[in-house]
Amino acid sequence: MSIPGLLAEGFESALLACSLILLVPGAAVGLTARAAAVPAILSFAVGVLALSWLRFADRGGDFPPLLVAAGLMVATILLLVPLISRLDLAAIPAGLLAGGAAAELWLPCVGPDFGQLLNELPDRGASGLGLLALYLFGTLSPLVALAALHHLTPDWVLERLEPIWAVVGGTLLALLAVATAAGLHDDLVGKLFQWSAA
């Protein structure tokens, strides 16, 4: 397995429909978190890495859909309802929960280098986690760009747009939670993919 190949496959996977189940909730978390988009997306990435490693290394995970849906719903509530006074602090558990839930729903399409990693992952220790993080850096790169774009946006624009983003992102997260509970999350993401492809 080549490290550059693995990284390139990660970036390539960001353009594939198989990764939408990670990117859609990730973007929704970033939008809903408003001013806390950066910590929310970073926490989301950590959640994805942790749960996908547990599953793919055959060490755990694979939770029932209702629990995954609950994770998404709690993340939505944490970001929209001021249960924790500071939004940047609420964004961290919300991002972790949503990231873990997304990783549970993720069924990746696998190229040669990522395939080799997955074949070896149960027998690898920390190096497997590091290599998976490298791949996911590419896969989740659009979310990194989203967080950076948020940081680049002037404050007066953010003040006007953030309430709209929060509604759009929160609605998407809540819809995904309901669809997951009903076993229809693939259909929801598939429809988003078809609309974007059309």
């Binding site: 390139a8 970036f11 390539e12 960001a14 353009l15 594939l16 429909a17 198989c18 599953r55 793919f56 055959d58 995970g61 694979d62 069924l107 990746p108 399409c109 696998v110 190229g111 040669p112 990522f114 395939g115 080799q116 997955l118 074949n119 149960p122 590419g138 790169s141 659009p142 990194v144 760009a145 967080a147 950076a148 774009l149 940081h151 680049l152 693939d186 259909d187 993401v189 598939g190 429809k191 993919f193 078809q194 492809a197 059309a198």
Partner: protein, 235 residues
């Protein structure tokens, strides 16, 4: 200029450049174009519905399924040399299928005595499509010697679950072997456990035991060696 904004700008540019670079990598099929096969296949399916399928597209759908317990899949790809490929855990079956395309099979038992490649795929999956030329080469070379490929189609999205779309994609992609319709992903889950991926390739020997298991693209030489060994030496 604010340093954090400078770093953010560099990050955005770096991500865009990386995505454009992999998107337009030379000598590679376009991921984005390939990923859009769903709507294209849907259009072709609509044409087929009006005019009938293209010649060579067998559209027989049978609803048979095998009533036996699916085994948990093995997890390691064997290294195949001059020695026999190892027997991995499990002797899986196909259960709960929605039918077959391009075959009158009722389950794995319909192919008893043959070496079987069981290929989990879905037609919208870019990496699955990359494996097809290698499977086509093996099929052309060894089908008459006793090799059968069973494409277990486990859709991700609802348009990939449409039988007309699957049939149209099979014609388009040159998939001529039997396709088992695993619409509810019963076998996708049962064979792969919590390590579920597209594509995944198994080889079953003449007695139905798993002799090869590989996740993703690649390992084509090992796959061919396993098939050739089993065809030459039996289970």
């Amino acid at each position: 200029m604010n340093w954090s904004r400078f770093v953010a700008a560099v990050l955005v540019i770096a991500v865009v450049v990386a995505l454009v670079a992999v998107r337009f990598r030379p000598d590679e099929p376009s991921a984005a174009t390939d990923a859009a096969i769903g709507p294209e296949a849907a259009d072709r399916a609509a044409t087929d519905a009006a005019t009938g399928p293209e010649p060579g597209a067998t559209r027989s759908i049978t609803g048979g399924e095998e009533a036996s317990t699916a085994a948990i899949a093995p997890t390691t790809a064997p290294e195949v040399g001059p020695e026999a490929p190892p027997v991995l855990d499990g002797k899986p079956e196909l259960t709960g299928l929605d039918g077959w395309l391009q075959s009158d099979a009722t389950g794995l038992a319909s192919f008893d005595g043959q070496v079987r490649i069981v290929h989990f795929w879905t037609f919208g999956c870019y990496n699955c499509k990359n494996t097809l030329p290698h499977l086509q080469d093996l099929y052309a070379e060894h089908h008459d010697d006793g090799l059968e490929i069973i494409g277990v189609h486990a859709p991700e999205f609802d348009y990939e679950a449409d039988v007309d779309n699957i049939a149209a994609a099979a014609v388009d992609l040159g998939v001529t072997w039997p396709i088992a319709l695993d619409t509810e992903k019963v076998n996708f889950r049962a064979w792969q456990g919590r390590r579920r991926f597209w594509p995944r390739t198994y080889v079953l020997d003449q007695e139905g035991r798993v002799r090869f298991d590989h996740i993703g693209e690649g390992a084509y030489d090992e796959l061919a060696a396993t098939v050739q060994y089993l065809l030459a030496n039996g289970a």
